[in-house]
């Protein structure tokens, strides 16, 4: 196996004395779909922000493309640009849908025809809203536009935070297909945060359970859901309260 794309070592993020992420050691492999589950407020979104280098950690390092990034390190643009996130609460720019999807390309100085943009919009089933203003979108449309916007820049790592929360069953399937396809065809590494246990089952190679800032278990997807050693994993999946 090749070197992991992320190597987290002693990584921690705290707000005040409130621990939000505390990961002594975790590797994320190149090309895998890594799923993070856990109760509300566990620190999942924060972990994604750390992986996208949007916030510096309080302690520890993330090794990425051969370099260790700690609390004080500036991540160079070329590394930052290998990763992108579809946030839990996507923010679109106050422009048309098309311009939003094109934005990442525009940032990279890509002034090409925009065929990529049209294609991405088509994939998420939103070709018809391309000229509409971002503010007029419905919740599910918004979420799909955010995914399209992340796709067009063809990142090495795609961080997805609840990408189908606002979608109906058909669109959930559509998005899952897209993610699977990106992973298979382009080898995109995907870190997926989801509360949809079935989705995790359908997509993930490995699953991690995050509980109150700590990773309680990391396991192959089948092991995780079917024969976990950890009683808390089972409880979480059944919707019981877990500490």
């Amino acid at each position: 196996m090749s070197e992991p794309i992320y190597q987290l070592r002693g990584l921690a993020k705290t707000y005040g004395d409130h621990c939000v992420v505390d990961v002594p050691e975790l590797d994320i492999q190149k090309g895998e779909i890594f799923c993070v589950v856990g109760p509300s407020g566990a620190g999942k979104s924060t972990l994604l922000r750390l992986l996208n280098f949007l916030e510096p950690p309080t302690r520890g390092t993330i090794r990425f493309h051969g370099r260790d990034y700690g609390p004080l390190d500036q991540v160079p643009l070329e590394h930052r640009r290998k990763v992108t996130t579809v946030f839990q609460r996507s923010m679109l720019l106050n422009r048309t849908v098309w311009a939003n999807v094109n934005y990442g390309l525009w940032l990279r100085g890509d002034r090409s025809s925009g065929a990529l943009v049209d294609e991405a919009l088509d994939q998420v089933g939103l070709k018809h809203v391309a000229r509409q203003h971002a503010r007029t979108l419905s919740g599910g449309e918004l979420q799909r536009v955010a995914l399209a916007r992340a796709m067009v820049i063809k990142p090495d790592v795609l961080l997805l935070d609840e990408p189908t929360a606002n979608l109906d069953p058909y669109n959930v399937g559509l998005i899952e297909d897209i993610v699977r396809k990106l992973n298979l065809d382009h080898g995109t590494t995907v870190v997926l945060v989801t509360h949809n246990v079935f989705q995790a089952k359908r997509l993930a190679h490995r699953v991690a359970l995050l509980l109150e800032c700590e990773i309680v278990e990391v396991a192959e997807v089948h092991k995780f859901f079917e024969s976990s050693d950890n009683p808390r994993t089972g409880a979480f999946v059944r919707g019981e309260i877990v500490y």
């Binding site: 609460r89 923010m91 940032l107 992340a150």
Partner: protein
């Protein structure tokens, strides 16, 4: 009534393409335009910095900026006068880079100082009004610092536009400083506002009013053009 006389005279002056008026208008636009350019170039980056970053002394800088919005133009004028006067610390150097008193360049310096706190302050407010999550989103998509700042500015465009409008308003309507460092020299440093004061002192109220109307018409047109360029932002 004199107000109507003023209006009528304004129309007359404009219609006849009065040449003296033309010179004055051109100079007003030139001086205020360049000053606005400078203060935008200074004020917007400062406003972005204050809006984005949290650093020690930020509050002090903000309080100073707010105070700067209340700089009496005549004090700024006095200050610039003292600096670049031939007996002042800069003027003494006799460097060609330092403009002499009673020149349009000196007026530009004073007006830049007057308008940039307004622009910086409002840019700061506009930028702070943009959801920080949007900034994160933009960075996540791979924006450089500058691209990120630019995008946030574009999101806060109404506020930034208003800040520039206010900056323009403050320089085009300013009197104390241009009088002090420009000297209101005919055909050279006489702008609309100093011409208005001159006519007022001469008691030619309706001519003064006419010049005032011309000035307002000018900034009205400038603002309409600005709104046009802005597109539909304000209707969103």
């Amino acid at each position: 009534m004199e107000i109507w006389q003023g209006l009528a005279k304004a129309v007359e002056l404009i219609m006849n393409g009065d040449q003296a008026l033309g010179t004055i208008v051109a100079l007003s636009l030139k001086v205020s335009g360049i000053a606005l350019l400078f203060s935008t170039m200074l004020g917007i980056p400062l406003g972005i910095m204050l809006g984005f970053s949290r650093f020690i002394g930020r509050r002090l800088v903000i309080a100073l900026l707010y105070t700067g919005m209340g700089f009496p133009p005549v004090v700024v004028g006095l200050f610039v006068y003292m600096l670049i006067s031939r007996s002042g610390p800069l003027g003494r150097l006799g460097s060609p880079l330092i403009p002499s008193l009673f020149t349009p360049e000196a007026m530009i310096i004073a007006q830049t100082i007057i308008s940039f706190p307004l622009i910086a302050g409002f840019t700061m407010a506009a930028v702070m009004g943009v959801d920080p999550q949007l900034r994160q989103q933009v960075m996540a998509l791979g924006a450089t610092r500058w691209q990120g700042a630019w995008t946030v500015l574009a999101e806060a465009r109404v506020g930034v536009l208003v800040s520039i409008v206010a900056g323009f308003g403050s320089v085009i309507s300013e009197i104390g400083a241009v009088q002090m460092v420009g000297g209101n020299i005919e055909n050279y440093t006489r702008v609309l506002t100093t011409a208005i004061v001159l006519e007022t002192n001469k008691g030619r109220f309706s001519l003064a009013m006419a010049l005032g109307v011309v000035l307002l018409a000018l900034s009205f047109v400038a603002n309409v053009v600005m709104l046009r360029l802005q597109g539909r932002t304000l209707d969103e």
